[in-house]
C-alpha cells in the first residue's frame, strides 16, 4: 500500500454536493467518494498516456498502484485500443517473415529459477 499525502484542495460547491450525494448512496463518506472519483480520473488519464505511447502499461500500473490486469480491463470497458503503432507493426511483421521458417531444431525449454 502506498503512503497517502494530505493535499489541500478547493473544489466547487456543486461537486461537493454531488460527492455528498454519492457518499450517501454508496454508504460511505464524502472523502472516500472524492478519492474514488480521483482514482477513476487518474486511471483514465494513465490509459491515455499508455495509448499515446508516453508510458508503458506496467509503468501506469505502478503509478496507479493496481495490477496490470486492471488496466486491460479498463481499456476494454472504455473501448480504448492499445498496442503498437503502424510503424512498429511493420517492423514486427518484417521480423515475423524472417522467423517464419519451419523449425527443424526446436530449442529445449529452460528451467525456471
Amino acid at each position: 500500500m502506498r503512503k497517502n499525502r494530505v493535499v489541500p484542495l478547493r473544489i466547487p460547491e456543486h461537486l461537493d454536493d454531488l460527492a455528498a450525494l454519492s457518499a450517501q448512496e454508496e454508504h460511505t463518506d464524502k472523502a472516500t467518494a472524492l478519492r474514488q472519483w480521483l482514482h477513476e480520473g487518474a486511471a483514465h488519464y494513465a490509459l491515455e498516456l499508455v495509448a499515446e505511447g508516453r508510458i508503458s502499461m506496467s509503468r501506469a500500473a505502478e503509478m496507479l498502484d493496481v495490477a496490470v490486469y486492471e488496466l486491460y480491463r479498463l481499456a476494454e470497458r472504455h473501448g480504448v485500443e492499445l498496442g503498437a503503432t503502424d510503424e512498429q507493426r511493420r517492423q514486427s511483421r518484417a521480423l515475423a517473415s524472417r522467423l517464419g521458417q519451419p523449425s527443424a531444431d526446436p530449442h529445449p525449454p529452460p528451467r525456471s529459477l
Binding site: V50, S58, P109
Partner: protein
C-alpha cells in the same frame, strides 16, 4: 533464438491460449520483475489469469533476477520492461515479445528486434508449432486485446500463409 516477454506479451499470449506451446518450443525468459507484475501481484488481486500464467511458466520459462541500478533512466517504463533492457546484453540472439507502444518505442530506438503477440502467432503457425486452425482460434481469442489493424494484419498473414495448404 531466445524470447524475452514483458507483462503484455505474457498476458496476451496466455489469453490467446498458446503460452504453453510457445514455451515448450522456444526458450523463453522473463525478468523477475515481470513475474512479480503478472503472477505475484495478479494473484494478490485475485486475477485468474495470474494463476494460469503461473502454471504455464512453471518449469518452462526461465525467471531471471535482475538488479536495476538506482538513478538509471526509466523511459516511462515499468520495472519489468526495465528488467528486460537490463537482461538483453546477457542474452545472445534474443528478441522481445510485446505490444506495448512505449516499450516498443524504446526497443526500436535501441535497434532491438521485437514481435507483437499477434505476429508471434503467425510465426508459430509458419513454424508448424500451431496448425492453421489453432492459430486462427488463438487470434480470435486475442482479438479483444489488440488493435483492430493488428488483428486484420495477422489474419491476412495467416490466410496468405494458408494458401495452398491443407486445412484442418
Amino acid at each position: 533464438m531466445q524470447l524475452l516477454l514483458d507483462a503484455d506479451g505474457l498476458i496476451k499470449l496466455n489469453r490467446a491460449g498458446v503460452l504453453i506451446q510457445l514455451a515448450e518450443t522456444h526458450p523463453c525468459v522473463i525478468p523477475g520483475a515481470v513475474y512479480d507484475e503478472v503472477v505475484t501481484r495478479g494473484k494478490v488481486h485475485l486475477y485468474p489469469d495470474a494463476d494460469a500464467i503461473e502454471a504455464a511458466v512453471a518449469g518452462r520459462v526461465a525467471v531471471m533476477p535482475v538488479q536495476h541500478g538506482p538513478g538509471e533512466p526509466e523511459f516511462g517504463l515499468g520495472a519489468g520492461e526495465r528488467g528486460i533492457l537490463d537482461l538483453l546484453p546477457q542474452l545472445d540472439d534474443a528478441f522481445v515479445v510485446s505490444d506495448d507502444r512505449r516499450f516498443l518505442t524504446v526497443l526500436s530506438m535501441r535497434g532491438i528486434a521485437f514481435l507483437t503477440p499477434a505476429d508471434m502467432l503467425v510465426v508459430l503457425a509458419r513454424q508448424g508449432v500451431l496448425t492453421e486452425a489453432e492459430a486462427r482460434a488463438a487470434l480470435e481469442r486475442l482479438r479483444p486485446a489488440i488493435r483492430t489493424k493488428a488483428y486484420w494484419d495477422a489474419r491476412q498473414d495467416l490466410e496468405s500463409r494458408g494458401e495452398g495448404h491443407e486445412e484442418e
